[in-house]
Amino acid sequence: VKEVKEGMNSRRVPISEDELHAFVDGELPADRRADVEAWLAGHPEDAARVSAWRTQAELIQRRYGGIAGEPVAPRFEIDRLTRATRPRWRLAVAAACLALLVGGAAGWFGRGAWEGVPAVRAVAAEAIEAHKLYVVEVRHPVEVPADASHLMAWLSKRVGHELRAPDLLELGLRLIGGRLLPGAKGAAAFFMYEGGSGERFTLYCARATAPDTALRYRVSGQVAAFYWIEGEFGYVMTGPADRDRLQKVVERAYEQLEKSPPAKSSSSRG
């Protein structure tokens, strides 16, 4: 039994229902969590509701989260504390499949507010998976090395867009080369960079049908990614989960990509 001054605590800081939801969803500020825990210890009815909501979430995740091939049920408590490390992109993939599964739900999924979100997240998921797969390769990290003159021409042709791998040498990252990957809308180009201590960053470019998005950030285990859609192209920069460094890399890449010809000019005149 925990030594909590329930009576005192619960009288002094009554917990609203909104806060109970926020507690369950990891939205509550850290300093209020202890209050809620104390409250629940003294209010079994609320504790039962919280427990029921968590069970619901588990049922939903077990029913639909499995699509992404990841057991999600046990991640509850720990991930709630370290919310940023939750592999949300995996869940995103699951959610993207939801429309097909939840009968009669096609309507809400197709609503305007949804447009682009599953698409851009799915692109990010592809890219992060590719990153994890290929950065560990010692001998064959890329299909075509950076010094091969046909690298850009080849990838550009397959992706259907004049590509330019950003120069990240200023940040100590050297382009190793690239490879072609399957993307949601045809081929995707995948560039790999390597830093002085062997750390690797990858840039994934694929055609996307969604409208432009802001820069979004996702952490997935040891790696993190910034991703965005611009000019009908989705970009995902993935690297070690060091947000500050990754952001610098992204900014450097972004300003160069911005200067490249817009993707819309597939039959361009330059």
């Binding site: 229902e17 909104d18 969803d25 509701r49 939903i60 639909y64 959610a95 507010a113 949804w114 979100v117």
Partner: protein, 76 residues
């Protein structure tokens, strides 16, 4: 207690009883891990609306899953 398979079908049916907005809010939070703020932006409503959709969704699912048992109706 129902087994996991039963649970899966039950939750599916329970979700089907929700309004679109409620279901979307709940799934975005629970399954996709979006923050309330992100859901609010997506749905184009204030955070308070997201929270009330969430609350209604959860209450409804609970009463659905509780089924024939004593319905603890909370009129608040």
């Amino acid at each position: 207690m129902a087994g996991p398979d039963t649970g899966g079908r039950d939750i599916e049916r329970a979700l089907a009883t929700l309004s679109e907005d409620q279901r979307a809010a709940l799934l975005l939070v629970v399954l996709e891990g979006l923050s309330y703020r992100e859901v609010a932006d997506l749905q184009g409503v204030p955070i308070g609306t997201v929270m009330s959709r969430l609350a209604r969704a959860r209450a409804q699912i609970k009463s659905y899953l509780d089924g024939g048992r004593v319905a603890l109706r909370r009129v608040k």
